[in-house]
């Protein structure tokens, strides 16, 4: 799975939400304008709709799924989509694909969210520290270099081998793998923000480092953190699918989109349907986040990219 370190310098369509040229740029964009921008851009709107559907499906899975995800119907394996009682058909054990898919989306979103939270909680303070205190910059940079040298799959392989494959371990591996990029993004923002007069004024007023970081720097880094979170989310969702597919993530019988695909691969030449829908579900989840993330980036930060 290719990790995404997208850097786009796209100008906002129509320059609708252009940031002021000077001062604390990103924070100066009113939230309402960001929202209007999202709602007015057709692609962003598509993404928002996709996300709404996906999140609703995941949250409501226990109530809207027609069957329990593990429930087998030995009398009805390999039903085609559209069969009465099984809208999207059944798999080799006669399990309802729609129900499993809804629960799978729920699992994907859970892992994605955990990974994002981990990356934000660990990456943001380290990024702030590396950007603000020069003496901490080198050690933290070494740390990110070392972490980057382990692809997420290697991390996941290690964690799965040490304490057994599970949803939590998958989320930890995916989150840790994203910490370095989060550190880099926040560090870059901190370096930019700390040059502003309002930070220097705070320094002159003898405010403590942590206080300056919390009150002045962090709020100005938040939009970059949010944009990065929307980049991490689809990467983590794809990563979860990969890990579960390889048997290193969520364990059966818990439904996961990756496990569904691994099962489906075994009888791919017999019937392709069980492989089709879980894959499409992953695409919709990721596309939703990517579309919204792109639009957010354009809206919040049209002039700069996170390039160094």
């Amino acid at each position: 799975m290719t990790q995404v370190v997208t850097t786009t310098a796209t100008t906002a369509p129509g320059g609708a939400a252009g940031a002021p040229g000077d001062g604390p740029q990103v924070a100066a964009v009113p939230r309402l304008r960001v929202l209007t921008h999202l709602l007015r851009t057709p692609l962003a709107l598509t993404g928002l709709v996709m996300l709404a559907v996906v999140v609703l499906a995941g949250v409501l899975a226990p109530w809207i799924a027609p069957y329990a995800p593990e429930q087998v119907h030995f009398d009805a394996p390999f039903q085609l989509p559209g069969t009465v009682g099984f809208a999207l058909g059944t798999d080799d054990l006669g399990r309802d694909i729609l129900s499993r898919m809804l629960w799978g989306v729920r699992a994907s979103l859970t892992v994605g969210l955990l990974a994002v939270v981990l990356a934000v909680v660990v990456g943001t303070p380290l990024g702030l520290a590396a950007g603000y205190w020069r003496w901490l910059d080198a050690p933290i940079s070494r740390l990110t270099d070392v972490t980057l040298a382990f692809p997420f799959l290697v991390l996941a392989v290690g964690l799965a081998a040490i304490s057994g494959p599970s949803l939590t371990n998958a989320a930890i591996a995916l989150g840790v793998a994203q910490v370095p990029t989060m550190i880099r993004v926040v560090r870059g923002e901190t370096l930019r923000v700390r040059e502003h007069e309002f930070v220097q004024a705070a320094v002159a007023m003898d405010a403590s480092g942590p206080r300056i970081l919390a009150q002045h720097v962090l709020p100005n880094c938040l939009s970059a953190v949010i944009v990065q979170a929307t980049v991490i989310m689809p990467v983590a969702v794809l990563g979860e699918a990969v890990l579960s597919f390889l048997g290193l993530g969520i364990q059966p019988p818990t439904p996961s989109l990756g496990i569904m695909l691994a099962d489906a691969q075994q009888y791919l030449s017999r019937t392709p349907w069980p492989a089709l829908f879980p894959g499409l579900a992953i695409v919709v989840v990721c596309l939703g986040f990517n579309l919204v993330g792109d639009a957010l980036r354009d809206a919040l930060d049209p002039s700069t990219s996170d390039r160094k």
């Binding site: 799975m1 990790q3 850097t7 081998a161 990969v242 695409v283």
Partner: protein
Amino acid sequence: MVRLLLARLGQSVVTLLIASVVIFVGVRLLPGDPALAMAGEEATPERVAAIRAELGLDDSLLVQYLHFLGQVLSGDLGESTRTGTPVTTLLGSTLPVTLWLSLYAIVVAVVVGIALGVVAERFRGRWPEWLANAAALTSLSVPNFWLGMLAILWLCIGLGLFPASGYVELGQDPLAWALHLTLPALVLGTGLAAVIMRQTRASMIEAMGSDYVRTARATGLPKGRVLLRYGLRNSLVVVVTIAGLQLGGLISGAVVTEQIFALPGFGKLTLDAVFTRDYPVIQAVVLVTTLGYVLVNLAVDVLYTVVNPRIRVGGRSS
């Protein structure tokens, strides 16, 4: 510039050393006793103890680490505890498969990504740009193993264009070799192509709006020449950097791709080693991955200085 590169080299060595400690400790944290696994279920305690001593598992961790480091530096990666084959032999037979696959995928990604990026810039605001953007966003959202499954279903089983699985040595039959690798490389390259396309487009937009491009245009140079010689060349710096950063992802992707297409590569070696708790192989596999990643990043930095005349000391003005 030499000083800059030497400093960069030093950083790489430090990164590698720290990584080697992490790997060493990490592997020791794995549950399960390799001596027990090797001896089998009916082994006597004496036999297990003998194997433990033979593997050096009774020494202190520091001694084991230094021993490990010395061996690695002298090119001895130990033997697989499962099969007894030297790890270097295993690497020798699996690495070429994965390297060819990755190289093929990178070439595909760079060619497709840069071409689409240039097209998107050239036709800004018109349908080719829209199409290229949509393609990039979609391929960033598609799990590549699912793409591989669909490709097998449609192109291999359905149309019979490519073999669905397996590998043929380059020396044996170059045509079969290419046929076996084409589909996996395309599948592996899509995500990278998308990233490169987006980056190329963004950098091109920036470059084409710059003063030197305006000047070049004003001198009456042909459009295509301005686009490629001035716009693209100056965008390549960022593209190279971004492509380098994606390599970790490419390695992870190769593992899954090999699994889908049943290629006997590095990824398969990794998974087999993890599922059988083959310490020396796991250690070597992670070490080689890390080394590869650090070396590639070093190479990217060097390339960066070569491609970017602003960094190159004594370079020609462009």
